[in-house]
């Protein structure tokens, strides 16, 4: 759905995006993570044909950036970093204007559909300026979807929202995902990326890494299992360390942290061995490094 090859953007001497190569499959939710000023918004602007690249090429929804700009704008939806509504106009009027600009056939129908879907129908006649931040963000999301784009770019969709409004927006993104739309999600919210994204790319002027959150965890930290026990003897740690498939074994208070390649197959063997040694295993869980750990590791590399 999105193919990017060596995409670059230079403003004078400043390199904003350096040779970005990436592809996003149809129906995928791709998380684009990076610090402020990393070039995420510049990338989104290039992919939505708002600004032109200085190098490389990108194809979005079958249309090439720089060559088929109008077709790209017609076929993608974008939620910009700031909602940018017409505050003096009603919610309905705001959406009607954009539906017409996107060439939507059933303007009134589509406007009503998204106002209802996002819970704004009752407030459709109110000026957008009177809306809360969360309502404005929902209105901006509706605006991005009026023309039913297959590819949607969301730039910081939950930024500055309270937890309840952020959850509403996240749930809506999950609905879009379920509808099979391709979503390119720029976010600082790593928990959000972890929950919603099929794959994530960590970006700071250039792409530092790209993979699924689970694969990135494994690549950086391997898979680790924590055995919680009533008590822990040092010889048990040594005994497990001696087992050929155990990559590492650490005692942390009464817990045993074991590095494994295939916990699903190897956990039962370990439990059996621990029981043989006289250990009382209370419960077993997988140690999950947060996406924040992974993100910081790459950004500071």
């Amino acid at each position: 759905m999105i193919t990017i090859e060596g995409l670059s953007k230079k403003f004078g001497d400043f390199m904003a995006v350096e040779s970005l190569t990436l592809s996003v499959a149809e129906g995928e939710v791709f998380g684009f993570l990076g610090p402020n000023g990393a070039g995420k918004t510049t990338t989104v602007r290039m992919l939505t044909s708002l600004i032109g690249p200085t190098g490389g090429r990108a194809v979005v929804n079958g249309f090439e950036v720089g060559r088929d700009d109008q077709a790209i704008r017609r076929s993608v939806g974008i939620l910009t970093e700031t909602p940018g509504m017409y505050d003096r106009l009603s919610a309905e009027k705001n959406l009607t204007i954009f539906a017409k600009l996107y060439g939507v056939k059933d303007v009134a129908g589509q406007v009503a559909k998204y106002l209802r879907m996002l819970g704004l129908w009752e407030r459709r006649g109110d000026e957008a300026g009177s809306f809360s931040k969360g309502m404005r963000q929902k209105l901006a999301i509706a605006r991005a979807l009026l023309h039913e784009p297959k590819v949607v770019f969301l730039d910081e969709p939950t930024s500055g929202l309270d937890p309840e409004a952020a959850k509403l927006v996240r749930d809506f993104i999950a609905e879009l995902k379920a509808e099979g739309r391709t979503i390119f999600l720029c976010t600082h919210n790593l928990d959000e990326a972890d929950r919603l994204c099929t794959r994530i790319g960590i970006f700071k002027t250039r792409l530092l890494t790209v993979d699924s959150p689970a694969a990135l965890r494994q690549r950086l930290y391997g898979r680790k299992v924590v055995f919680h026990m009533k008590r822990l003897e040092p010889e048990w740690v040594e005994a497990l360390r001696a087992m050929p498939f155990v990559k590492e074994a650490q005692a942390v208070e009464s817990k045993l942290v074991i590095g494994l390649d295939d916990p699903e197959a190897q956990n039962p063997i370990l439990i059996r061995r621990l029981v043989e040694l006289g250990a009382e295993v209370q419960f077993v869980g997988e140690l999950r490094h947060s996406l924040e750990d992974i993100y910081l590791q790459f950004i500071h590399q």
């Binding site: 704008r73 700031t82 940018g84 003096r88 106009l89 204007i97 954009f98």
Partner: protein, 261 residues
């Protein structure tokens, strides 16, 4: 064309909710119509209707064989012509300044630029949204003046003079051309400032040449005749083309998003 009308509709719906802009559009034509009528009435009530010997000598060419009091009225009317020509300059500056700088401050330009509208459609929509009310207000004001002038003491020769080529060229050709100058000037100014009032004040500089004409007329240096008007129209056309080109360069998506302050 649909997209241009959508932009015009949006601009009018938003800009006309701004009381300051609405005041400019409504108040200016009203004052610029009432003021000449009041002066006409005042002059008509003076015995003899004015003294022809006070007129600049170049002005006698315009009067020809008509009576001195009528000629004096024509001289005064000619000053009002510049007032009518100021309207299509002042009104669009207010609308364009609020429309463009307003979008900058609310950050609503980016979503707009992300739609499949071309920059020419967008610029044309915004320009027409400012030019149309200004030109219509000028024309309505002018027609009201024609209708009401006889009731306020205008002589028949004066009414005939208002329908002369100089006035018709000024109101129906030079006026719209000046409105286009004003809008494009406002676009250029708006690209550099973040406060609509600052944009409006800076763009108001376009009124200065009009004031120069007023004082030139009063001093007898300039006479608004057909050759003058045709020269002015030619110069305005050239300025329009230059400013439209500059405005269109500044109104490119990339320029707006990366260079506008």
């Amino acid at each position: 064309m649909d997209k241009i009308w959508t932009i015009i509709d949006k601009e009018w719906a938003e800009v006309f909710k701004n009381r300051l802009v609405l005041f400019t559009i409504a108040f200016l034509p009203l004052i610029f119509t009432v003021l000449p009528l009041g002066i006409l009435y005042g002059v008509g009530s003076i015995e003899g209707g004015g003294n022809n010997t006070d007129l600049p000598p170049q002005f006698f060419e315009l009067c020809g064989p008509i009576a001195p009091d009528e000629c004096f009225q024509i001289y005064l009317i000619n000053q009002f012509l510049v007032l009518f020509m100021m309207m299509p300059v002042i009104i669009p500056v207010s609308i364009a300044a609020y429309s463009i700088v307003g979008e900058k401050t609310t950050r609503s330009l980016e979503p707009l630029l992300a739609t499949p509208i071309t920059t020419i459609e967008l610029l044309t929509g915004k320009a027409l949204a400012a030019v149309i009310p200004a030109v219509l207000a000028t024309w309505i004001s002018f027609i009201s003046f024609i209708i009401l002038a006889p009731l306020f003491g205008a002589k028949p020769g004066v009414i005939a003079y208002i329908f002369s080529p100089v006035w018709l060229l000024a109101i129906f050709v030079a006026g719209p051309l000046m409105a286009v100058v004003a809008v494009n000037f406002a676009v250029i100014i708006s690209s550099r400032v973040t406060d609509p009032r600052a944009a409006e004040q800076m763009a108001a500089v376009v009124v200065v040449p009009m004031l120069a004409i007023v004082f030139g007329q009063l001093a007898g240096v300039i006479v608004l005749n057909v050759p003058f008007m045709l020269t002015a129209i030619t110069i305005l056309l050239i300025i329009d083309i230059g400013l439209i080109y500059l405005g269109a360069q500044l109104f490119q998506r990339e320029t707006i998003l990366t260079k506008w302050k």
